[in-house]
Structure formats: structure tokens, C-alpha cells
């Protein structure tokens, strides 16, 4: 019990924020957009048909799971609750796995773990994925962390099978699960205890087979599947295809870097430098400064820690920290590559646990480095570290608000789009029947709403305009 003392301290410290996120998600109405169409799909199609990769949005395991829930012989309330749990359980599992993986053993470890969990919860890559019922990447994130945990743990005979299974499940939820292949390669390259060449070959072969299958089955991919961001504005698919369709590769490169940039610097968002634009316009709000400053500062510190860890690894051999640095680089590259077509915050989700893991090691390394410096520098640097951790905790609280904003948005969508939907989908009786059956949960007055913070705090956790009603 004593050995787990600091683990419990860290868990108790982050529990209120994680609990608030889970509690809010539990009462969030299912949205109209996407949710009803997804439920219509699973209501109409036989479960196994989702295994056929004939769509650009191939998420067979997600659809099969959703189909199992929606077609179950249970009340609407029970089915909606199960769909909500599909989003809540992965978030709880991710946080628990993260704390178990870093396993704090001292007060400093516990504090660094709490700060790193704030990084995990406050990152746009996680926040953008907290949308019921779109749980694809939220499921993939704990699976990726679990795979990494196994890879760097002492070897067991079942580890290879487990890592392969985790990869298959994650990929089955969304192609972003392929990022686990990058982790396996990172583990093998850095001689992680449970990594083997066979394992790397199997996972790499699986990844290649998956990509091949998708390309063969779906030969004609759209040049731009969704709107792209470029510089300071968003460009629709038609305009993007007209402008860049003949040679889209430079835009693809920009889009890949945009996703990576979003994980590391919170900018750009969906390829658009919206925070920079707001600062330039003089309309930036506190949360925008907080996001940009905390990300830039933490990424700079992580770069320092990463370089230090890798240099040390050259001298003394691979450590968990050095392996994590390599894993972060490779998983960032994988997330970037998998979002070549368009960039969204959520597409960086698979890299977020590893950015947070790097943050844990960075906070700890920075603190240990600080104890050696002269008193004056120690005080200044420790204050800087305190400020950085504080900003990330503000961001984590902001995630609770973001989930509330999503809930309010979903409720408003239910209240205001009924006429448009009933006319638009007049020839789809299944859609309309699902719309009718979920109307009550969508319009319930009890849906979570954003907090009306007093003026001085408004705009600190999330955009001010969503806090004033």
C-alpha cells in the first residue's frame, strides 16, 4: 500500500477533473449531426457488412459495436447510456493507464504526473475527440498507451499477441490506430524489453496489408476528403481541388505538418492559424494566449529533455525516457502522415498520450536539474515551472468546459434543426424514426451547459462567447 501512496495522491488530484468530464459526458445529449446517420446505418445494415472497406470512413469495429448496442433488445435510455459509456470508459481507462504507466513513487513524481495528466486532458487532440458517439480515436488512445506499456515492460510470452491484438482493435476503430505500428517500430529500434523483430514484422505487415486493402478496395480516393485549412483561412473541397488538385502534395505536406503543429503548439487548428490571426487582429482571448504559450513552452522543454535523454542513451544505453522520446517522434510522424488529406485537432489524438508522457519526464527532469542550480536561478526557474504547470491545469479545467459547450451545442441542434431535418430526410423513414425516438434526450432541459463565469475569468477556460447566455 505504501508503495502506491504517491500513485493514489496523483489519482486523487486528477480525479475531480476526469470525474467532471465523465459526469458531463454522461448527461450530454447525442447530437443530431452524424449520430443519427450513424444509427440509421447500423439499424439498416447487417453487422458484418461493415467489414467491407468500401468507404473512405472505414471504422468496422466501431460500427459493429454501435450496431450491437443500438440493435439490442433494450430501452432507448439504456442504449443511449451504453453509447455514452463508449466515450466515457476510454477516457477513464486512458487516465488510469497513464498514471499506472508513469507510476509515481515520490512527491515529485506525483506532482509531475498530475501536471502531465493535465497535459493529456488539456490537449486539443483529446478535447476534439470527446464527442459522443464518435469514439473512434478515444478508444485508440488507451489502446496505444497499453501497447506501449507492454512493449517497455519486462517480457512475457503473451505480449506479442496482446500488442498485435491491440493494434488490430485500434485500427478497426479508425485508421489512426496504425500509429501503434509506429510505436512497435520505436520499441524495436530502441530495444524495449518486450519488443522483438517478429513482433515488429507482424505489426508492420498488418499495417501494410491494411493500407493495401484500403487502396485496392477504394481505388478512387478524393483528392481532398474534407475542407482544408491553409494559412489563415479554410478552403472548401471544391476550391481546394480546383487550386491544388493537379499537384496536391505540397498541400498534403502542409496538412501533415499542421496536425503535428497542433499537437506541439496548439496551432494551427484544422490547418488554420486562428490564434495567431486573433492575436494579429487584437481580438485574442485569454484562453488563446494560454494555449499557445503553454504549448510552446512545454514543447521547448520537451525538446530539451528529449535531446538530453537521447544523448544519455548514446552513452549508457536505452532508457524508458529515451524510448519515449523516440516513440513521440515516430507517433507524431504517423499522426501527421495519416492526416495528409485534411487536418483536424482530433487526428492528433493518438500522439497525445505520448506528448503527455514526455511532459511527465520533462517536468521531472527539469525539477531534478533545478536542484543543482544556484539559489536565485532555482527560484526563477521553479516559478517558471509552476507557471507552466498552472497553465496546463487551466487547460484541463477548460476541457470540462469544452465538453459542456459540446453538450449545449448538441441540445441547440436538436431544438433548432427539426424542421430542416424532417424535410431533408423525408424519404428516409428509419432516419426520421430514430430522430423522433431521440428527440426527448436531445431537448431535455437538464443537458449540461457552460458555466457563466464572472467577467474577470470569462474567456480563460474557453471562448467567452460560449460562457455568456
Amino acid at each position: 500500500m505504501r508503495r502506491c501512496r504517491w500513485l493514489f495522491v496523483a489519482a486523487l488530484t486528477v480525479a475531480p477533473i476526469v470525474g467532471a468530464i465523465a459526469f458531463t459526458l454522461w448527461r450530454t445529449p447525442l447530437p443530431v449531426s452524424e449520430a443519427i446517420a450513424l444509427l440509421e446505418d447500423v439499424a439498416r445494415k447487417p453487422r458484418l457488412e461493415f467489414l467491407i472497406p468500401d468507404t473512405a470512413y472505414y471504422r468496422p469495429f466501431f460500427h459493429i459495436l454501435l450496431s450491437t448496442i443500438w440493435n439490442a433488445d433494450a430501452s432507448i435510455d439504456t442504449r443511449v447510456a451504453a453509447i455514452r459509456l463508449l466515450q466515457i470508459v476510454p477516457v477513464l481507462a486512458l487516465t488510469a493507464l497513464f498514471l499506472i504507466h508513469v507510476r509515481p513513487r515520490t512527491l515529485l513524481d506525483a506532482a509531475a504526473a498530475a501536471a502531465a495528466t493535465a497535459v493529456l486532458l488539456g490537449s486539443p487532440g483529446l478535447r476534439d475527440n470527446l464527442e459522443i458517439p464518435l469514439t473512434y480515436t478515444t478508444v485508440g488512445m488507451p489502446l496505444a498507451l497499453a501497447a506501449w506499456h507492454l512493449l517497455v515492460s519486462p517480457p512475457r510470452p503473451w505480449h506479442t499477441a496482446a500488442v498485435v491484438a491491440l493494434t488490430v482493435v485500434a485500427v478497426g476503430f479508425k485508421e489512426q490506430g496504425l500509429a501503434i505500428a509506429a510505436l512497435v517500430v520505436a520499441a524495436w529500434t530502441t530495444k524495449a524489453p518486450s519488443a522483438t523483430r517478429t513482433q515488429a514484422v507482424i505489426v508492420a505487415a498488418l499495417a501494410l496489408a491494411y493500407v493495401g486493402l484500403r487502396l485496392v478496395w477504394h481505388q478512387r480516393l478524393a483528392t481532398f476528403e474534407q475542407a482544408i485549412g491553409l494559412g489563415f483561412r479554410e478552403i472548401g473541397t471544391d476550391e481546394a481541388t480546383a487550386r491544388f488538385g493537379s499537384f496536391p502534395y505540397l498541400v498534403y505536406a502542409y496538412t501533415m505538418l499542421a496536425t503535428i503543429g497542433n499537437i506541439l503548439f496548439s496551432e494551427p487548428t484544422a490547418g488554420v492559424f486562428s490564434i495567431v490571426r486573433s492575436i494579429g487582429d487584437g481580438t485574442a482571448e485569454p484562453w488563446q494566449y494560454i494555449h499557445l504559450a503553454s504549448s510552446v513552452a512545454l514543447t521547448a522543454l520537451i525538446a530539451w529533455w528529449g535531446a538530453r535523454s537521447l544523448l544519455q542513451a548514446r552513452r549508457t544505453g536505452w532508457t524508458d525516457e529515451a524510448r519515449t522520446a523516440v516513440a513521440l517522434v515516430l507517433v507524431l510522424a504517423a499522426c501527421g502522415a495519416l492526416s495528409f488529406n485534411y487536418s483536424r485537432d482530433r487526428l492528433g489524438g493518438m500522439a497525445v498520450p505520448f506528448y503527455a508522457l514526455a511532459a511527465f519526464y520533462t517536468f521531472r527532469a527539469a525539477a531534478r536539474w533545478l536542484v543543482e542550480v544556484p539559489r536565485r536561478r532555482f527560484e526563477v526557474a521553479a516559478a517558471g515551472l509552476l507557471l507552466l504547470a498552472s497553465l496546463w491545469h487551466v487547460r484541463a479545467v477548460g476541457t470540462v468546459e469544452a465538453v459542456r459547450v459540446t453538450s449545449a451545442r448538441n441540445q441547440m441542434e436538436w431544438l433548432t434543426t427539426r424542421r430542416q431535418r424532417t424535410r431533408e430526410f423525408a424519404d428516409r423513414p428509419v432516419y426520421l424514426s430514430i430522430l423522433g425516438s431521440l428527440q426527448a434526450q436531445g431537448t431535455a432541459e437538464s443537458a449540461p451547459l457552460p458555466t457563466n463565469y464572472p467577467r474577470p475569468v470569462r474567456g480563460v477556460f474557453s471562448p467567452a462567447n460560449v460562457q455568456t447566455r
Binding site: 475531480p16 477533473i17 506525483a110 506532482a111 525539477a367 532555482f378 431544438l415 430542416q420 424532417t422 432541459e445
Partner: protein, 293 residues
């Protein structure tokens, strides 16, 4: 020294985590304990009109559903400019447009709200009148705008305006003049044979308020009557009130005199019956001219 510093940094780093945890814990506990606090919710409203005025769409929807009412059922509202600060009956959609609340407009349309060419129910005309092009676009996108042109601006009737109206001799003179001119105009027009302007059935059946609104709209929007009102120095609004009060008072007067009822019935003011009694010949003459006697 090293150990002390490490512990200090550990505490320093843990403090913001504890503050954040405490903040969320306090907020969520307060939310559970006092969900109606201004921090967490808008002020509670109990009428559809107030909910729309507060832009509380969810509450407006709940009130609509709870009451089992139609989205077109009139509500009483008051606005310093649009209703001159007096209580008026309008449709919820009209009020949502007046409050410039696009979300409430879309919610009401989803619940089956419609636009009619009657003052207080012509939400599209209100949007046009106040120059709210964005709202007009919303109504057009929802195909809610009527093809028929908007009626000319009309003053709404107050909740008790007709019930409280007193017949007076000065207005009666002008009413008499206007009525004779109107009757002359209608005789020359076959449209009024198909749809007579005045009949006892029209004037005394149904809810007085919608009927008053409809009658005034008809009087106001018929170009042939404009001369009559100009000549008599009377507005369609005043004329409508006068004719409704007069017909009701005349009928009550007849019942009392014939002994069918002992006293003036509720809904008709005794002063008005006394006015008819005092001016019976002139009243009968004008009503006869109008085809109502």
C-alpha cells in the same frame, strides 16, 4: 539540500493541480446544490413569452411541450416600441422575431409555427419592417415566408382594449360618417357581396380578438376605405373597436328591453348599453345602413 529542493518543487508543482481539482470540485458541487444559480443557469422563466425574451430556447421548448399548446397559440407580450409598452396578443414566432432570436424562430418552426397575414402573426413582415435581413433569410430558408405581400402597419389590440372601450358621442358622429361612406364603397364592389364586411354572425361569433384583428386588417388594407376614414377623421383601429362595442351593446340593449334577460350581460359594458338607449334612433339608422339592424 537536494532533497529539500526536490520536495519544494514537488509541492510547488502539486499546488496548481490541487487548486484546479478544488476549483472543479467546488464548481460541480455548487452546480449540484444550486443548479438555478446565475453561474449555471439563466433566470427561471414561467411563460413562453419570457423564455423567448430571455433567449432560453430549451425552456421555451419545454413550456410549449408541457402546456400541450400549439406553436401558433397567441401569447401576451409587451415591448416598449413594438407594442408601445402595452400588453398585446401576438404569435410566439412574431415575438421571437421581435426578440431577434434566430434559435427560438427555428425551434418554433420545427414545432409547426406558421405565418399568417394578420398583424401579430406576420413574423416575416415584422422582420422586414425592423430591417432584420438575417432573420428574413432564416425564415426564407425554412420556407416560412408567405408569397402574399405584407399588410400595412397596424396597431395591435391590447388585451382589454375592446372590453374596456366606451362608446362616445363625438366618435359616434365620425363613425356614422365613415360607415355610410364604407357602405357606399362596398355596394359598388361585387367582392363584398361574396364576402360581406359586416354581418352579425361575423361580428358576434368566435373570439373577439382574432376577429377584431382580421376586421381591422380588412378595413386598413382596402384602398377604397381609405377615403372614408380620411373623410371621417377616424382610424381603422378606432372604427373596429367602435363597431364591435356598438353591435354588442345594441344586442344587449334589445335583450334587456324585450325582457329576455334582466340585466346587461358580462362582456358588454353597461355604459355602452346606456349610450345605445340614449341614441337609439341614430344607432338603429346607421346599423340598418350597414345591414346589421
Amino acid at each position: 539540500m537536494t532533497e529539500t529542493r526536490l520536495r519544494s518543487i514537488g509541492w510547488w508543482l502539486l499546488v496548481p493541480a490541487l487548486v484546479a481539482a478544488g476549483t472543479v470540485l467546488a464548481l460541480e458541487s455548487a452546480r449540484l446544490a444550486r443548479p438555478r444559480s446565475p453561474w449555471f443557469a439563466q433566470p427561471r422563466t414561467f411563460t413562453l413569452a419570457d423564455a423567448i425574451a430571455q433567449h432560453d430556447v430549451a425552456r421555451a421548448y419545454a413550456l410549449l411541450r408541457e402546456g400541450g399548446r400549439s406553436a401558433d397559440d397567441p401569447i401576451v407580450v409587451s415591448h416598449p416600441e413594438l407594442t408601445s409598452g402595452r400588453g398585446r396578443f401576438v404569435s410566439p414566432l412574431w415575438w421571437a422575431v421581435a426578440m431577434r432570436d434566430e434559435h427560438s424562430v427555428l425551434m418554433l418552426l420545427g414545432e409547426g409555427a406558421t405565418i399568417q397575414r394578420v398583424n401579430g402573426r406576420d413574423a416575416d413582415c415584422l422582420a422586414e419592417r425592423v430591417g432584420d435581413t438575417a432573420m428574413l433569410a432564416v425564415l426564407r430558408r425554412a420556407d416560412a415566408v408567405l408569397a402574399a405581400p405584407c399588410l400595412s402597419p397596424q396597431t395591435e389590440f391590447g388585451v382589454t382594449e375592446i372590453a374596456d372601450y366606451r362608446l362616445g358621442a363625438d366618435v359616434f358622429v365620425r363613425f356614422d360618417r365613415a360607415s355610410r361612406l364604407i357602405v357606399a364603397a362596398t355596394r359598388a364592389d361585387p367582392r363584398f357581396e361574396r364576402e360581406p364586411l359586416f354581418t352579425k354572425d361575423i361580428l358576434l361569433s368566435g373570439d373577439v380578438l382574432p376577429m377584431a384583428i382580421a376586421l381591422e386588417a380588412r378595413l386598413r388594407n382596402e384602398p377604397a376605405f381609405a377615403k372614408a376614414f380620411f373623410a371621417a377623421d377616424l382610424t381603422p383601429h378606432e372604427y373596429t373597436k367602435f363597431v364591435l362595442a356598438l353591435v354588442a351593446a345594441r344586442l344587449a340593449h334589445g335583450f334587456v328591453k324585450s325582457g329576455v334577460i334582466r340585466s346587461v350581460p358580462s362582456g358588454v359594458h353597461a355604459d355602452n348599453v346606456m349610450f345605445v338607449d340614449a341614441n337609439l334612433a341614430a344607432v338603429e339608422a346607421v346599423l340598418k345602413e350597414m345591414g346589421l339592424e
